[in-house]
Every structure is written in C-alpha cells, then in structure tokens.
C-alpha cells in the first residue's frame, strides 16, 4: 500500500479512536471535575470582589477553561484503558501507536474547543467585542491542539492509575496557570516574571486573547501564534516518540 494511502487509513482510524474517547470519557467524573468545574471555581476565587473589567476577565477565563479542558482527557485515556484491560486489544488492531495517541489528543482537542465556547458566548452576552475574530478563532484551535498534546505528555510515565497521572498533570498545570498572565497581565510582571512566563504556552494564548478582546497584547500576534505552533509540534513529537517506548510497558 502506498505511503499516502496508509496515512489516510491511519487518519481515519485515529478519528474512530477519538469518537470512542468522546463517547466514553466526556462524562467521566475526573474529566468533568478537573476539566470544567475546577477552572471555573479557581477563576472565580481570584476574581470575585476585585471589581475587574469584563474585557479583562474574559480572556483569562477563556484561557483557563481552554487549558484545563483540553488537558483533561488526553492524560487519562491510556492509564484508564490499561486498567480496564482494553488497551491490549486496541494495540493489537492495525493501528500505529501514533494513531492511538492522535485519536486521544483529538478527543481532548474537541472537548477543549466545545467547552471554551461557553465563556466566549458569556463574554459576548456581557458586551465584549472581538476585534479580530479570525485570528482569535485560529488561536483557540492551535491552543486547544497544543494543550491536548501537552496533556498527552503527562501520561507518558507507564502508570496505570489515572489518579497518579492527574497528580503529575496538576504539578505542571497549576504553576503554568499562575505564570501565564491570566491573573496579572504580562506587561505588569517584573523582568524575571516575564522570562518565566515565556516558557508557558498558555502565556501566548492569553496574550492573543487580550489582544483580540482588550485590544492590547504584550507581544505581536504573529509571534504568539508561532510560539503556540512550536509548542504544539514539540509536545506532539515528544508524546508520539515516548509513548512508543512506554505504552507496551502498560500491558
């Protein structure tokens, strides 16, 4: 079979895996708690009583929700499936490990996209305007893919306990949120704070969101998008390469 045909065939099978994940994992307790409820309450706890403007809050809320929802599913699928004894059957199907990983990432990506529409619609209802909807939409799509890929990196250690993977994910996710300009705009951070912020992919999405909604970003939008694309490529590569080694060890 030609290389192109195999790639197309594997892409179709990745979609089948993503559909399976959507059916199974969207309603799982940890996904709803850590992916939807948790970021909302965390955001509210930082904003209530501070009399912040809506156009300042919405970019942060969209960033938080997109980050938490898009990283909610991809880390737990592999350990969950190994524990439920469904992973070996999946691995013996004519699919590459990269195909399985891509399917899991796609399910997380779609979850992130759909749930992040809620704060955007809320913001529009409260009167915010998006100055460049196309760039904002592109940023949401790239960021959802980036965060879903990062989520998959969390599940590389071959543990079969979803709780352990969630713990590893939390250790990374919370610091990332605090350094990404969600609660304090990048321009107001000290020099060292900005240097740390640049190692977080969420920083670049929040910056585009502030640019689109508040009309003031810290970096040029092109740089933000390029940084998000670079992080996405890096996380995808790491996830695909390292799962090749660790996934068979889950069995």
């Amino acid at each position: 079979m030609a290389y192109g045909q195999i790639t197309l065939q594997q892409a179709r099978r990745a979609l089948a895996i993503a559909r399976k994940d959507i059916r199974i994992y969207y309603s799982k307790g940890p996904v709803v708690i850590f992916g939807v409820l948790f970021p909302v309450f965390l955001f509210l706890s930082f904003t209530i009583g501070r009399h912040l403007a809506v156009d300042f809050m919405i970019p942060g809320l969209v960033g938080m929700i997109l980050f938490f929802t898009a990283t909610a599913i991809s880390p737990i699928v592999a350990p969950w499936e190994a524990q439920a004894r469904t992973l070996e059957r999946l691995m013996s199907c004519p699919v590459r490990i990269e195909t399985i990983i891509l399917g899991d990432i796609l399910a997380s990506f779609v979850f992130g996209l759909c749930v992040s529409l809620v704060p955007i619609i809320l913001g529009l209802a409260l009167g915010i305007t998006v100055s460049n909807p196309l760039i904002f939409a592109a940023a949401i799509i790239v960021a959802a893919l980036c965060f879903a890929s990062l989520g998959n990196v969390f599940s590389i250690p071959p543990t079969n306990l979803p709780a352990t993977v969630n713990m590893i994910a939390s250790v990374v996710k919370f610091p990332v949120v605090f350094i990404s300009g969600i609660f304090i705009p990048l321009g107001e951070l000290p020099g060292w704070g900005q240097a740390v912020a640049y190692i977080s992919p969420l920083t670049y999405f929040t910056d585009i969101a502030r640019n689109s909604i508040q009309g003031q970003g810290h970096l040029p939008v092109g740089i933000d998008l390029l940084a998000l694309l670079t992080f996405t490529a890096f996380f995808l590569l790491v996830a695909m390469k390292l799962h090749q080694r660790t996934m068979p060890r889950r069995i």
């Binding site: 195999i6 065939q9 179709r12 099978r13 089948a16 895996i17 399976k20 059916r23 199974i24 439920a84 004894r85 469904t86 070996e88 059957r89 999946l90 691995m91 013996s92 199907c93 004519p94 699919v95 590459r96 068979p248 069995i251």
Partner: protein
C-alpha cells in the same frame, strides 16, 4: 519441511527479556495454514509473552516472526489477524454493538459488511438480544463471547486466542469451542493458548509445550500422549481404606495419586501391576470395587514434560 506459503506462523529464535528475567528464550516453531495450534504451558512459562510478540503488542528483543508472510507487529500482519488477548475486555461504557462497530472501523471493514457480519456473529454467540446494552452489564461469559466477536468482525485469516475459555461457565465455553471448530472447518488458522488439556486435545492438531521460556515439545496431541509410556496408570478402588504409601511399595509403581475413594497408580507395565494389586488384595483381605487401566492423558504428558524440564 514446509514451504513458507503453507505456513501461517514462522517463529525463529524469538526472545524476550524483562530486566534480568528471560521470559521467552530463543523459541522456534511453525504453524501450518488451516490448523489449530495449541500453545500450552504452566503459569509464567512465556505463553502470553509469545502471543504478545506475535500480535505486535510488545517487541521481541531477538529473533523474528512472520505472520502469513508479514513481519509480526506490522500493520499488514495485524490487518489479517484477529486477537482475543488474555483477560481482555470490551469497552465497558460502550454497548456490545458499538464495540463491534469500533473494531470494524479500526480494521477498515465497510459499514454494510460490518453490520451484517456483526449481526451474524452476535446471533451465533447468543448475544443479539443484549447487543445494545452496555458491556459493563454483561456477565463474564458474555464479555468473553463479545471479545471473540470483536476478533472475528474483520473476518481474519488467523486467530490468536489467549485462554479464551478460562473461568467461563460450561455453556459459554462450549459455544466458543464449537465456533472455533466451525471456523477451523472453514479453513481459518487458530493459535490457541490454553491451560485446559481436554480443550487442547479436542481442538488442536498440533500442540507445543513451553516451559520456562523454552519449547519442550511440539507434536500432535496423540503422539505426545503416547510418547509418555511410563505414565500408563491403573485406577483402583478397594472396599476398605488403603494407604497410598502401601500401594507405592508395590513392584513397578512409579507414583500414586489419591482421587476421592480411588487411587491412581502410575507404571510403565500396567499388566504386571494388575497382578500385583490382585495379589495384594487377596493377601490383605481386601475386595477390589473397581479397576481400570488408563493410557496416559495429554495432561499426564504435559506434567511429565514440564516437570522433567523444571528439575
């Protein structure tokens, strides 16, 4: 020696280590197309590890295996094989039907063909009435039958089954065995890992016994059974209790096993042993209630071969 186009599986020096443990040690065997090949061995012998290497779930450290001419683990090899892994489950949060449709998509089976084949398989294995229920509501036997349906939905040429009837109720085990016989009659090759000697004896044309990662015997079940000539036995029951230690002292007795109210005495010469038993009963005032001469079973051959290797 068979030419490669007559072979479904060719294994050459297949080896797998887990840390310092040599789980599979330079294993070699061949499976002919259209046969049921039994892969037997005690727990931890290397059966499942071998199956996982053949089905591409784990990689071998050394050696090679060809599945119908394709490298084991390649997409081409996986495409033409069906797998029932040991202790595997369908997705518990999907219905039986959705599990089958997922497998059909992963094997690239077209929609209409997938639906027709799935319906037929569910009917054959008695699951059609529960096809829309979530798998988590199925009994163990139903889950195992569903896993077999999932392995067959792509109409594979070669089927790997790792302990498919282990721990199942009699009806489910019989349904699965009947289906395997019917599939074999249609020309499908079946690679069966089992602990059940009766199952291996009934289903398999060739049996390989693996112990401590090494193949200790490969032959037809009958030939393996008869090769264990020292494992002939005489099963005897007396009207009074007799200690196994006393029976073990009779001439020609290699071993004694107590089976309920009977004793099974292993010997190379059952004729002489019967005479000794009759003399023993007369001289001790015992009456023989029943006496049977038994040829060695496949289980006897299995025990003899694996114990010999373990010493």
């Amino acid at each position: 020696m068979k030419s490669s186009h007559e072979l479904a599986v060719q294994v050459h020096n297949l080896t797998k280590r887990f840390g310092r443990v040599l789980a599979v040690d330079h294993v070699n065997f061949e499976v002919k197309k259209g046969e049921v090949f039994g892969f037997l061995g005690p727990n931890g012998a290397g059966k499942t590890t071998t199956v996982r290497m053949l089905t591409g779930v784990i990689r071998a450290d050394e050696g090679s295996a060809l599945i119908l001419g394709h490298e084991a683990g390649s997409l081409a090899a996986k495409q033409i094989t069906g797998v029932v892994p040991e202790m595997a489950n369908g997705y518990p949060d999907l219905s039986g039907w959705n599990n089958l449709m997922l497998m059909a998509e992963l094997y690239g089976v077209a929609g209409k063909e997938a639906r027709e084949r799935s319906t037929s398989l569910l009917q054959q294995l008695g699951l059609v009435a529960r096809k829309d229920d979530l798998v988590k509501t199925y009994s163990k036997g139903m889950k195992q039958r569903l896993i077999l349906c999932m392995a067959l939905v792509s109409d594979p040429q070669l089927l790997f089954l790792d302990e498919p009837t282990s721990g199942l109720d009699v009806q489910s085990a019989r349904l699965i065995k009947d289906l395997l016989q019917s599939l074999n009659a249609q020309g499908k090759t079946i690679f069966l890992t089992t602990h059940d000697m009766d199952e291996a004896n009934q289903l398999c044309q060739t049996v390989a016994i693996i112990n401590r990662g090494k193949i200790v015997a490969i032959d037809a079940p009958e030939k393996l059974r008869l090769a264990t000539s020292s494992m002939h036995s005489v099963e005897v029951s007396f009207d009074n209790m007799v200690s196994p230690e006393v029976l073990a002292k009779l001439p020609g007795v290699n071993a004694v096993r107590r089976l309920g109210d009977k004793h099974r005495l292993y010997t190379a010469d059952p004729g002489d042993l019967v005479v000794s038993l009759v003399n023993h009963s007369c001289s001790n005032g015992l009456r023989i209630v029943s006496l049977n001469i038994l040829a060695p079973s496949l289980e006897d051959a299995f025990v003899a071969l694996t114990e010999r290797e373990s010493r």
